[in-house]
Amino acid sequence: MQLTRRGYALVAVVVVAEVLAVVHGARALNAVAAPAVIALVVGAVEVVRVERPTADRGAVSPGFPGDVREVDLAVDGGGVATVIDRVPDGVTVDPATADASGSATVEASLPTTLTYDVELADRGRHSLGPVLVRVSDVLGLVTAEFDVPGTATALVYPPVYQVAGREALLREVLDRDAIERHEFDEIREYVPGDPLRDVHWKSTAKDPEEMFVTEFADRRIEDTVVLAASSEDDAADEMAAAAASVAVMTIDAGVGVELRAPTVSIPTGSGVDHRDRLLRALALTDGGHPDPSEMEDADVHVHADADGVTLTLGSRTHAFDDLTVSRANPLADRGVSA
């Protein structure tokens, strides 16, 4: 519990009144000193007795740099309070909703709700909160501060750009698959419904009655790509952005992606949920290199360093910038904000 500026001023008033009363006579100074003392005492009692405030936060959904999220925080308790939420680096508070020091603040009587907007900025996981609640008495003379625990995480994905080379990628993948396909195949009888593409003409021609089809041992209707990412020289953000762009493009093409990033790996998957999983992984990964063994059979390799980002597809290496069609987030066009 501490006195505010007003509180100190009032104490000074009391002291001056007492001194003047002693030196020059009481006059009406009682009517000045008495209320001041009572107000201070009552204020102190009010603040001491106040119940510890509690806070309930809403979760913040992940997004890309530049996305705006609403943060809301319900504070419960008694009395009048200034509520100050701690905003981490990595997100910026919309200046229209911030106070002078750049933090998100509201002054109200409890219970109250504090809502403000933040713009997601840096890649990674950022913790909002805990919230500082400064409860004061009704005249603003005495305050007590409470650090109310409870944080919400804002996850910021790396930025995603539009990448060219979808055709090359698919071709690459299908070619590779084509090679793998022919191993471990079996022949079996045709069942209506089998795609004609799979008909094994050699065997069928030999048999007048039956048709035969190839049963592929490890047939994947959906093809997948192994994406590896590495970086050095503090270029983790660039690496993540490039990898994310490739991953999004690949998923979009209907191809599954397995991600091997320096500090996190995601097994194969496809579809929207998997895309989000990949973005989350790339949001969290540090820079560096994955296990060398894991990089060997990677189909696509993204590497970032002080000189820039490169993308290696099979045997060919490109500068990532050359492949970038636009810096606009392709997902934004579809109204996807994760």
Binding site: R6, A17, E18, L20, A21, V22, V23, H24, G25, A26, R27, A28, L29, N30, A31, V32, A33, A34, P35, V37, I38, A39, V42, E46, E70, V80, V83, D94, A96, T97, A98, D99, A104, T105, V106, E107, A108, S109, L110, P111, T112, T113, L114, T115, Y116, D117, D137, V138, L139, G140
Partner: protein, 743 residues
């Protein structure tokens, strides 16, 4: 999205706009209350002075209107600068109106000196001072309040009120009202700036009630009293208990007390050919509840002062101080002083001597005085052509003095056609129609009016105050004088003066004569009271009440001595004009002495029991109505107490206790619901409240409630979640809960 939003927990959506206005209105009224409190003191100054209050009111209206009009457009810095300019301008105008233009440094020194507890009423042209000083603070306080800068507004208003507190001109009640206003302004102002509902300010109401009640009875400050005591608007210095203290040590202002006592200690001895009243000084300004001497004192520096016009007799007095004296008594009208205290002597604008510091026992000094000599016929024909300086200074009474005082005085003195007779009539009337008493309850309101219409008895201060006021109401210049009566005559020309000889009387001005003494206090009872005090003190063997030669009674001349004619022949047989003492073998009290034998002449006016039909006994029948200010404070306190009771939920508790025990019957669903609520409340008090996420079944299981409670819950379940409950089930639930409540 604009600024961070906080949601209000108790706002009424549809009434939001007017709710905001209400909050702002309350905050502004706090500012207004603060302003009203210091304005009322300023108004009082103007009221007491000769000027009408209208210019001040008009000025205030203009200033407030201007502030309101400019509140949106004017920037704060400009407003502050403008207020300071207004203040400077006003003070400059005031200073230029003073008869002597003092240099800056003493001026500032004066301003600070006033803040050490000297009332602003001493200022010459205090009405001009008010007109000059009022606009600045009024403008700035109101402007800041309208701009929602409530703390700043309170600081400005508080500083103004604070200065008036330090000069003793703001009473406890007024100050408390101002403080209350400031608290409301700041507290509700915060609510307004936050955008909260007015209900958030409820704790403020409780705080104010607490403040008003506690500060009414408990002193927080050294030497202070609670607000309920000392309601006098006029602080006359602390702890006056004797007549002497209330008059003699009063300095330049006198507050009129209630109960008072007499002190028998010997103060000084005088050697003088004739007995006189040993005068200290007079007061020119009446405030309604006290006297102020305006103007300043200057160094005496030796030499001769002005003598009165007209015939005078020179009287030399030699004083010997017995007990430390803070004053230098001298018979009227003193023209020179010599002796040890000369270097410390000062002269006031009223013509009396004062000393810097005090005179030690054993100090001797000599005063030469010119005593005005005029017989009644001279005085009667003196006319009414008063010099302007005299009529300006000595004929004003506060505008708030009730008109009935002047009307009554006019009736009483209807038969007097000159100022001298007027004065004598009033003097007689008061002496005959009012008793002498030291046991007096100080009246509220105007002292003179109260003494004339409501009180039966009083002591010299009351008599003298009333006579001066009555004279002034008839435009006769008169003033209130303080000093000592002649004391105990212990030798032909020696007098011993004690504390109880301190006295207040009247001086009336006559053109070409000067100031002439009148004394309306009935002397007999006064001397009797003094004698009693002395006898008591002698019984107690006190040592400071007698000198060697004072243990006897009054000195009587031996038969050999021929009594000198002390009174000019013209004085005999009629109302003696000059207040000289008659020979001691006629130790008749002063007042009665001047009573002319009934029917002795045309100048014997109708005296004595002048009863004006219908006007006797005008008092209010003994009801002591609280002043407006006190009523306001009490009102606020009551409001706060009511709010406090509500907040403590005491009423709610009482209601709950009843609700728990008695349930009226409605339909089965409502009954079951209510029965369940009662059960929950009961279990909450007995065990613990149910957690939010706890189902009733879990709750009962956890607290181990008995079968009856489970049954009630089961019935309630059916009602609430199955939608069907029979009348019998509802009744069963109710009666089970009744049982549980009783157990």
């Amino acid at each position: 999205m604009s600024a961070p939003t906080g949601s209000r927990s108790r706002s009424l959506p549809s009434l939001d706009i007017s709710a905001e206005r209400a909050t702002r209105l309350v905050a502004l009224s706090g500012v207004g209350l603060l302003m009203a409190s210091y304005f009322s003191v300023l108004y009082y100054f103007v009221d007491v002075s000769p000027t009408s209050p209208l210019p001040l009111l008009a000025e205030a209206a203009v200033v407030l209107g201007l502030a309101t009009y400019l509140s949106e457009s004017l920037r704060a810095r400009v407003a502050v600068a403008a207020s300071l300019a207004l203040l400077a301008l006003g003070l400059t105008v005031y200073i230029s109106s003073l008869p002597r233009w003092p240099p800056i440094v003493p001026l500032v020194g004066d301003a600070i000196a006033l803040a050490t507890g000297r009332s602003l009423l001493q200022l010459i042209n205090v009405d001009l001072w008010v007109l000059g000083v009022a606009p600045g603070p009024l403008f700035l306080t109101w402007y800041l309040g309208l701009r929602r800068r409530y703390v700043s507004a309170t600081l400005v208003g508080g500083a103004t009120l604070g200065y008036l507190v330090l000069t003793t001109d703001a009473s406890n009640v007024i100050t408390l009202l101002g403080v209350v206003g400031g608290i409301v302004a700041v507290g509700v102002g915060d609510v307004d700036r936050r955008g909260d509902a007015l209900a958030a300010a409820e704790p403020l109401a409780v705080l104010l009630a607490l403040i008003i009640v506690v500060s009414a009875f408990v002193p927080f400050v050294y030497g202070g009293t609670g607000t309920a005591a000392g309601l006098s608007g006029f602080q006359g210095g602390g702890g006056a208990g004797t007549v002497e203290a209330s008059l003699v040590s009063a300095g330049s202002q006198i507050g009129i007390q209630g109960n008072i006592s007499l002190s028998p200690e010997v103060r000084f001895r005088v050697q003088s050919d004739r007995p006189q009243y040993w005068r200290i000084d007079s007061y020119n300004r009446y405030t309604g509840d006290g006297w102020v001497r305006t103007g300043s004192t200057r160094d005496y520096g030796g030499g001769q002062l002005d003598a009165p016009a007209g015939e005078t007799r020179t009287l030399t007095q030699r004083y010997e101080v017995v007990d430390e004296l803070g004053v230098a008594p001298a018979a009227w009208q003193p023209v020179s002083l010599s002796g040890a205290p000369v270097s410390a002597a000062r002269v006031s604008d009223e013509g009396g001597f004062a000393v810097q510091g005090s005179l030690a026992p054993g100090t001797n000094y000599t005063v030469e005085s010119r005593v005005p000599l005029a017989d009644p016929s001279t005085l009667r024909s003196a006319g009414t052509d008063y010099p302007e300086a005299v009529s300006d200074r000595y004929t004003t009474i506060p505008s708030s003095t009730p008109d009935r005082l002047a009307e009554r005085t006019a009736r009483i003195t209807a038969n007097a056609d000159n100022p001298y007779d007027t004065a004598r009539v009033i003097e007689q009337w008061l002496a005959n129609n009012r008793e002498y008493s030291l046991d007096v309850e100080r009246p509220e309101g105007d002292i003179a009016d109260a003494f004339l219409f409501e009180m039966d008895a009083g002591y010299c201060t009351y008599f003298a105050t009333t006579m001066v006021t009555m004279l002034r109401s008839q435009d006769v210049p008169a003033r209130f004088v303080v000093g000592y009566t002649e004391g105990q005559r212990v030798d032909r020309d020696e007098y011993v003066v004690r504390g109880y000889d301190a006295h207040a009387w009247v001086e009336v001005y006559f053109p070409d004569v000067g100031w002439v003494r009148f004394d309306p206090t009935p002397a007999g009872p006064r001397q009797a009271a003094e004698g009693e005090s002395l006898a008591e003190a002698r019984e107690q063997n006190r040592t400071d009440i007698d000198t060697n030669d004072s243990t006897g009674g009054e000195w009587t001349p031996t038969e050999t001595a021929t009594p000198a004619p002390l009174t000019p022949p013209a004085e005999q047989g009629g109302g003696g004009p000059v207040r000289t003492i008659t020979p001691p073998d006629n130790p008749v009290p002063d007042g009665i002495d001047r009573t002319a034998p009934n029917g002795s002449g045309p100048d014997a006016t109708t005296l004595g029991d002048v009863s004006v039909p219908g006007e006797e006994g005008d008092s209010d029948g003994g009801i002591d109505w609280p002043s407006r200010e006190e009523a306001t404070l009490v009102g606020i306190a009551v409001f706060g107490i009511v709010v406090g009771i509500r907040r403590l939920g005491l009423l709610g508790r009482v209601y709950r206790a009843i609700w728990l025990r008695y349930q009226p019957s409605a339909d089965s669903e409502t009954d079951t619901e209510r029965a369940f609520e009662r059960l929950e409340y009961l279990l909450e008090r007995r065990y613990r409240p149910r957690e939010p996420g706890e189902t009733p079944r879990q709750y009962l299981a956890d607290i181990g409630a008995d079968e009856r409670a489970r049954t009630v819950v089961a019935i309630h379940e059916r009602a609430r979640y199955a939608g069907q409950v029979t009348r019998e089930e509802a009744d069963e639930a109710m009666s089970l809960v009744d049982e549980l409540v009783a157990s």
